[in-house]
């Protein structure tokens, strides 16, 4: 292309203390282009984009818009230049309505009349589903995402930056988002898209820039590359991307769930008459549209959720009504990676060692804390999961990149030598190399004879990794099928509420 790039960033340097987040990065995007930014967790993708949106001030290098050098000292400069960013962690005011969030930051003393109509028209134009009078705290992640996009469009963005927008979206929501991105492209805007999901990147983008450890590695045309090549570039060496199912005879039934019914806060059922069994040395996956009762199922098993009816038998003993601590003591461990990742499980201001201690201290005797085992564990987890951190102690975890924070959360749960491991969305937001590490870890647990309950979104992974798949639809089990013979289509139909027994050619493993 001989035309001047819409945006180009040249020789950008950014350091945080000792951490070099961007090391002479070069990056440029043209009009009408969807450009992916790829890289492992902590590669510096968010940092680079935050400099483009005026949140971080670069230590060195220059930014050009249509060939003219610009200096952003605050987000308002960047917005004025037509750049709009949807951040990895949403920047919305929970207690305000959608409309208030959209008009936030405008100049002038009074609300202008007719603004609602303008916002509504814009939402219609881009087919964004946003109820302007709804409070953000009552919205689903998908709605919040839409609102964030509407907000930046309203600010007049011509360059849209989406930082891992699809990490927590359902496939349907992702399709809608892609439609919006294509529309923007058609209107001559530029879209920068960050995602760890290779298939999405391959589908939607025109160009891809790969970052590794704060450096630009290469910019490629999407049509001329493969996921394998991209991953190798990201990691810096050849990586194996096949997911293997560990074939071994299943062990004894460790957990039996019988007729489990759980109510939501409003009193409507979140789970209805759910029955299944978990065997040692087996991975049982749970598939279902987001919000079909996965969260409640996990929490009920971990003793965090009030059970209305039913039993959870662990080695013959009913766990319903036991305290979470008691359940944990018996060897049932749960890790749940929530949609809002920092919200649960870790203390942002503490370092890695102390975050591990939070859970370990319960097993310690005596009055004073013994830090040594936690220090060793932290070093081990850092090594095993390749956590990019300048130090396991004295470095607050909130400073780490999103993906690395999550690895700590997960490492801590896997470490407790459980007999039953419940893990929900463990790979949310992780780069693909780490995803495979997690799959290997699950297989390792399975090999040890642990009963693994694995809740995830990606059907390809579920089919490749697990032994059996339980499908939830609206809080009911629509079937438990053999992962070796089931197909994506069958599971898709079951997720929509079709019973497995009504589907032709489905190998039903267990009736419920």
């Amino acid at each position: 292309m001989d035309q001047v790039a819409y945006i180009s960033m040249k020789n950008i340097v950014k350091t945080f203390g000792k951490v070099v987040a961007s090391n002479h990065v070069n990056f440029s995007v043209h009009k009408g282009e969807i450009h992916a930014l790829l890289g492992e967790n902590g590669a510096g993708k968010s940092t680079l984009m935050n400099m483009l949106s005026g949140i971080y001030l670069p230590d060195g290098g220059s930014i050009f818009i249509e060939g003219k050098e610009v200096h952003f000292s605050a987000p308002k400069d960047s917005i004025a230049a037509g750049i709009g960013m949807v951040h990895q962690h949403f920047k919305l005011i929970d207690v305000m309505t959608a409309e208030e969030n959209v008009i936030l930051g405008k100049k002038g003393l009074f609300f202008r009349k007719g603004e609602s109509r303008k916002i509504d028209a814009l939402a219609k134009q881009f087919e964004l589903d946003v109820d302007l009078h709804k409070k953000v705290s009552d919205m689903s992640v998908g709605e919040k995402q839409n609102l964030e996009i509407l907000k930046v469009l309203y600010q007049g963005a011509r360059i849209l930056i989406l930082d891992e927008p699809t990490a927590v979206l359902t496939p349907q929501e992702t399709r809608k988002l892609f439609a919006i991105m294509r529309k923007m492209k058609a209107e001559g805007c530029a879209v920068i898209f960050i995602s760890h999901k290779m298939n999405e990147v391959m589908e939607i983008t025109d160009k891809i820039t790969v970052l590794r450890k704060g450096e630009t590695i290469q910019t490629l045309n999407t049509a001329e590359t493969t996921p394998k090549q991209l991953t190798d570039l990201m990691v810096g060496r050849a990586v194996d991307l096949t997911i293997e199912r560990l074939e071994q005879p299943a062990g004894p039934e460790l957990v039996q769930v019988q007729g489990l019914t759980v109510l939501k806060r409003e009193g409507t059922p979140a789970l209805q008459n759910v029955s299944f069994a978990m065997r040692g040395g087996e991975i049982l996956s749970v598939a279902g549209i987001a919000g079909s009762g996965q969260k409640e199922l996990c929490e009920a098993l971990a003793g965090l959720q009030k059970v209305k009816e039913g039993k959870i038998l662990f080695q013959g003993e009913d766990l319903v009504g036991q305290s979470p601590k008691e359940i944990r003591r018996r060897g049932i461990s749960m890790s749940f990676v929530p949609e809002d990742r920092l919200g649960m499980g870790l203390v942002g201001g503490m370092d890695m060692v102390h975050n591990l201690l939070l859970k370990q201290y319960q097993d310690q005797k005596g009055f004073f804390l013994n830090k040594k085992p936690a220090v060793e564990k932290a070093a081990e987890i850092k090594e095993k999961l390749e956590i990019a951190t300048p130090g396991i102690s004295k470095y607050p975890v909130k400073n780490l990149s999103g993906g690395n924070i999550q690895k700590i959360l997960l490492g801590r749960e896997l470490d407790s030598d459980p007999e039953v491991l419940i893990t929900a969305y463990p790979v949310r937001g992780l780069d693909i190399n780490t995803c495979h590490k997690i799959y290997d870890l699950l297989n390792e647990e399975k090999k040890k004879g642990v009963a693994v309950l694995f809740i995830a979104e990606d059907l390809d992974v579920l089919l490749a990794l697990s032994d059996r798949i339980l499908v939830l639809a609206n809080g009911e089990v629509t079937g438990i099928v053999d992962a070796r013979t089931a197909t994506k289509e069958q599971i898709g139909l079951m997720m929509m509420g079709q019973k497995a027994t009504e589907l032709e050619g489905t190998a039903v493993v267990e009736n419920c």
């Binding site: 945080f16 949106s53 949140i55 971080y56 001030l57 605050a74 987000p75 308002k76 917005i79 960013m85 951040h87 920047k91 919305l92 005011i93 929970d94 207690v95 305000m96 208030e100 008009i103 936030l104 930051g105 405008k106 100049k107 002038g108 003393l109 009074f110 609300f111 907000k151 600010q155 942002g348 909130k398 400073n399």
Partner: protein
């Protein structure tokens, strides 16, 4: 009946310093800053306002300088907590100690003096036509001095400002999530400075009402802990300016209850009655904190903001 009317009428007067200080506190906390220096800023306003009144006999100049004194106290706080990101609680406490010392020092030479006649005349009661004739409400609310009327206007304007203007919306957003506001191009630091200073000015006015109108002479420790009650009233009003009417006058009433009961011939220990406002404050805080949503307040209250920090 007459006893009640005179009691309520006096409650409005006694509640006026609280009304100003609580409004000031609301602006501070809406900007995300927990300012425990209210007591200090009040007493600074009280002593400066009174000194200027003595020197010039000009009520408007006295009010204006009182507001400026409060704002200057707030400026110290703002530089420390906004720009240098010092701990807000410690800084606020220090401001109270500073303000008290400042007032004692400045007030040494004027102890016991009373306000000039011109000031007294300026703050004498004015009956508002028609409104003052309404039974009960008339004498309670509309036969008052100009400072009190100013308070009514301020409460209503503050409510409109906070809930009906773009600036108010931006301000509320800063208290909730400064990084979101910043990303939406709200100038966070400017907003914080302006509203901290404005809050300080209101606290200074609250103090000035005490020295200029309520007591009409200078005494050391004239604020007597009112600033602390105002800090609690911010929560009691759930950060809503309109509710300051209710909270300020209610607590104004409580603060004069003992005196009134005694003059009505009911004898309860003065010490017990002095405790009443504080006891009620504690009770109210307990009740409020039962409803998590109501007592939550601005989410980023007390947390310093730095753009590049996660």
């Amino acid at each position: 009946m007459d006893w009640w009317i005179s009691f309520f009428s006096a409650a409005v007067v006694a509640g006026t310093p609280l009304l100003f200080a609580t409004l000031g506190g609301i602006f501070n906390e809406r900007a995300g800053h927990m300012n425990l220096g209210v007591e200090g800023m009040m007493i600074m306003g009280a002593v400066v306002g009174f000194s200027v009144a003595l020197a010039t006999s000009n009520a408007v100049a006295a009010m204006l300088t009182a507001a400026i004194a409060g704002a200057l106290g707030a400026l110290i706080y703002a530089v420390l907590t906004v720009t240098l990101r010092a701990n807000q609680v410690v800084t606020g406490l220090t401001l109270t100690i500073f303000g008290t010392g400042f007032a004692n020092f400045l007030g040494q030479s004027i102890v016991g003096q009373s306000t000039p006649a011109a000031i007294k005349a300026f703050f004498s009661n004015i009956s508002i036509p028609v409104l003052s004739q309404i039974p009960v409400l008339g004498p309670v609310f509309f036969q008052k001095d100009i400072f009190i009327y100013f308070g009514y206007v301020l409460v209503i304007l503050s409510g409109l400002y906070l809930y009906k203007t773009q600036i108010g919306l931006n301000l509320r957003a800063i208290g909730e999530n400064p990084s979101a506001a910043d990303a939406a191009s709200v100038p966070v630091t400017l907003y914080k400075y302006v509203h901290l200073l404005w809050g300080g000015a209101l606290c200074g006015l609250g103090g000035a009402y005490l020295s200029l109108v309520y007591v009409q002479s200078w005494q050391t420790s004239i604020t007597a802990g009112m600033g602390w009650i105002a800090v609690a009233l911010v929560i009691f009003s759930t950060w809503n300016p309109y509710k300051v009417f209710l909270s300020a006058y209610l607590f104004g009433g409580l603060s004069i209850l003992g005196f009134r009961l005694q003059s009505a011939g009911i004898h309860i220990s003065q010490h017990l009655l002095d405790m009443a406002p504080y006891l009620v404050t504690i009770l109210v805080l307990v009740v409020l904190s039962m409803d998590e949503r109501k007592s939550a307040g601005p989410k980023s209250l007390g947390i310093p903001y730095f753009r590049e920090e996660r």
